[in-house]
């Protein structure tokens, strides 16, 4: 493997990992703070991709589609939390799994009714549709670099929000003692609605921005959901830092696995999970 080829795989692995982080960070936040196992999280990724496709077809621009799509996913997330998810906080995980699994089926059906069952492509925006030549026959697409950069910025923004702002402190405090947060005059229910909506919007945005690379197809949320649960488990449930480390690990392991040991590619992330869990049963950054 020469250097240019290695570099391409490295960048691909990082880009895939950063994209996974967008989806997994919402999943781990929603679990860590509200205690909700959200099986429908992959559907938000799918929703984002379909919104990107249909809005880009309407407006003729992916950027416009994303600008319209983000507020739509935020509103969708708030409505969903307000209507359904908040009824689950005081209930057993079994109820959460039942409701959110049911939501996957409902969302797939709605997707089929609204958008049909065909596969669709979304063109890469013209401005970013270029490649950086690395050798005579190898080059790297600018759009993938762009995705990585945007994901890094968002990850940094999320870090600042959670670690540095008062809202972030309230969110973290809510994870440890909900009643006490309320007794300080803080509307924890509204904060939960916000956290859920942010999680939905992050997953939706990942689907939107990745639509030109992955294309848009039925059940596309399923695979992402499973990999994101692997990320959450490896990183430590509830840890955003852990989700970042685990996303990058999985992104790189999956990408290099497909190149170096293609016959084992499907297993490699699960092997990685098994090894991490034997070494650290609560995940990399989890509290035992």
């Amino acid at each position: 493997m020469d250097f240019a080829f290695f570099l391409i795989q490295l960048l691909n692995g990082l880009q895939y990992g950063l994209l996974l982080f967008l989806v997994a960070s919402g999943l781990t936040l929603i679990f860590g703070i509200m205690g909700i196992i959200n099986l429908a999280h992959g559907s938000f990724y799918m929703l984002g991709a379909y919104l990107a496709w249909s809005l880009a077809s309407l407006t003729g621009s992916l950027a416009a589609a994303i600008a319209l799509g983000i507020p739509l996913t935020v509103l969708f997330g708030m409505a969903l939390e307000w209507l359904l998810v908040r009824r689950l906080y005081d209930r057993d995980h079994l109820f959460q799994v039942l409701l959110t699994y049911g939501l996957i089926l409902v969302f797939e059906e709605i997707r089929s009714i609204l958008w049909g069952d065909d596969m669709h492509g979304v063109p890469v925006p013209a401005l970013l549709n270029a490649s950086i030549p690395l050798t005579d026959n190898l080059s790297y697409p600018v759009y993938r670099l762009f995705i990585s950069g945007v994901c890094l910025l968002l990850a940094y923004g999320l870090y600042l929000l959670i670690k540095k702002t008062r809202l972030g402190m309230m969110i973290r405090a809510g994870a440890s003692n909900r009643d006490m947060v309320q007794s300080l005059g803080i509307n924890i229910k509204f904060i939960y609605t916000l956290v859920f909506a942010v999680g939905v919007a992050l997953a939706g945005f990942a689907g939107m921005i990745n639509a030109p690379l992955s294309s848009v197809f039925p059940n596309m949320g399923g695979h992402v959901l499973i990999i994101c649960f692997v990320v959450v488990v490896i990183g430590g449930i509830g840890s955003v830092k852990g989700a970042m480390a685990a996303s990058l690990m999985i992104g790189l392991a999956d990408t290099f696995g497909q190149v170096l040991v293609p016959e084992m590619a499907g297993m490699i992330v699960y092997l990685l999970m098994a090894v991490v869990l034997i070494w650290r049963p609560a995940g990399l950054f989890g509290r035992a």
Binding site: M169, R172, A173, S176, M180, S183, G185, I188
Partner: protein, 237 residues
Amino acid sequence: MSELLLEASGLHSFYGISHILHGVDFSVARGECIGLMGRNGMGKTTLLKSMLGLVRPKQGSVKVRGRDVTQTEPHIIARAGIAYVPEGRGIFPNLTVRENLIMAARAGVDGRCEWDFDRVMATFPRLSERLANGGSQLSGGEQQMLTIGRALMTNPDLLILDEATEGLAPLIAKEIWNIIHGIRASGIATVIVDKNYAAVMALANRSVVLVKGRVVFSGSSNELSDNEELMHRFLGV
């Protein structure tokens, strides 16, 4: 009579299926200091939680400044100027000392900001040395100071202290009592639940005694402390 900050009437509350409060009346006027007493399991904490919206009473009403809040969310009751220092302290162990304090900062009901981060630091100099520590790395006394300081950051008109000195070494407990004296002197109304009845009665102008979820005594603290028979019958001392 000055304005009533908090007024509960005829409260019946349950814990699971156990009937804990049997028609309790309780009120706190502006600037008043009330000792809420009774042996373990008599319903003191349930009464406090019922007034704070953390336990929903099955019957009866709770008013804050004359407004009915019986079915109101706890955060709205807190925003009406009522701060709570719960039994077992309730610090956020996953936040630093500084974060525990600044996340709670808020102006009082009339917009006044007498208590801010600097004043809490001046009142609890020990905490200023531990600002970057996680809440769980503090000693019991420091945790209690943090919880009281955090409650003050909301600029309350009424501070409710549930077992604030429980499990603390005598010297530290004395420090906490001094701080409570200072808070009372600043004009904030207080409700104090504590095993140290003598200290409570020395501070409170009124004492209320609960036995099995009923108010059996409500009157001046002197009247109670001077009456050995009542003290023995209700409190076992």
